[in-house]
């Protein structure tokens, strides 16, 4: 959807905020969205959106990716299953992929992935921040307010804040 709206010109994100900063981002392909449902075309759309909002040179893909990606370990009820130790052992495969990109941000366009990848960062010395696309899309549109930045790192807390006076 985001890709369609950007292509149609309804949304006009800019990656200028990251021109000087050159902060790198990687992307988790959610199994449910990509491999199990819409396949590689939606994975391409996500990359189109991510590159439009963070800058093409600031996107680093994990390997393997798209339909061949590794599951993060957040799906299938894992987060509520009580098998925490096993879930984290499972998730370390994904964590190692993220670490290999050296990107300080991992974008997770899925709720389960977000929770799991966020937790895996915590058990890996908080090696990366875990963000939704909607947060970065708002940032790149210049409309991300001060109270919508929970998942951004310190480096982006004060960048292009929309209505900073509304901070709570």
């Amino acid at each position: 959807m985001y890709a369609e709206w950007i292509r149609e010109g309804k949304l006009k994100p800019s990656s200028d905020w990251n021109k000087e900063r050159q902060i790198k981002f990687t992307l988790q392909d959610p199994c449910q969205l990509v491999r199990k449902t819409l396949g590689d075309p939606v994975a391409e759309d996500m990359r189109y959106v991510v590159k439009a909002i963070v800058g093409e040179e600031n996107f680093i893909d994990m390997t393997p990716n798209r339909s061949n990606n590794f599951c993060c370990g957040g799906g299938g009820g894992y987060l509520q299953s009580g098998f925490t130790e096993q879930r984290r052992a499972y998730g370390q495969t994904k964590a190692n992929q993220i670490l290999a990109t050296k990107a300080p941000y991992c974008i997770t366009p899925c709720h389960n992935c977000h929770a799991q990848v966020h937790d895996m960062s915590e058990v890996n010395d908080h090696a990366w921040e875990t963000v939704h696309i909607w947060t970065l899309l708002n940032l790149s549109l210049g409309i991300l307010g001060p109270n919508e930045r929970t998942y951004l790192g310190e480096d982006l807390k004060d960048v292009d804040v929309f209505h900073p006076e509304s901070e709570m």
Binding site: F83, Q86, H132
Partner: protein, 243 residues
Amino acid sequence: MGDTAIKIGGARKSVFKDKVMKLLPEGGNLNACLTCGACASGCPATGLDGMDPRKFLRMAALGMDEEILSSNWVWMCSMCTRCMYVCPMQINIPQLVFNARATWAKEDKPKGITSSCDMALRNDTCSAMGATEEDFEFVIGDVLEEYQESQPEFAEMTADVNRKGAYYFLNQNSREPVTEPDEMVPLWKILHLAGADWTYGTKGWAAENYCLFSADNENWEKIVRLKAKAVEDLGCKVWLNTE
């Protein structure tokens, strides 16, 4: 992986595997395994609880029903389907796992999953966190008003609830309205700028379905039907699942 070899005592019948084969198109190709190990080599759950996807399938083929149906590994596999994707024979191991989960007595299944399923069945919202229709409508209205005022460029932004005839019916994971409502707003702003015609519904808005994860066939279907009915009752054209 260095484990002692599995000893099988004579011919056993693969009752469980045959049962699952009857459920799946082409029998899920469950008899087509070449034992190549592509599934296990790329599975993050390989090695957990001494199990991996190839071993699980082979044990099913060998009729070791008791062993695989009592293995906790079925809860350590996320059913991500990568094994099937890389399999040269497209064997549906994830469905074998799902149906193994389904054979567990409810009281033996992980409590966190079954209680989230139970909670979702308590309200027509289908919220696994138990949020009611009133809670949801209040939070949406409250947050919307707050942002319309604090970000005047978005004074005209909408987050309608139960608006009939909207094109999109948007769902929402319970976590946002219940624990971090500010996180809903960036998406509202995107929808506003794109001019999307959308609504929430008080019924069936919760995106999650833990009854599916607990392999409770009767209740996951009940929840999906309830959600689909909510979309249809409002006459919406597209059921939009959020990030």
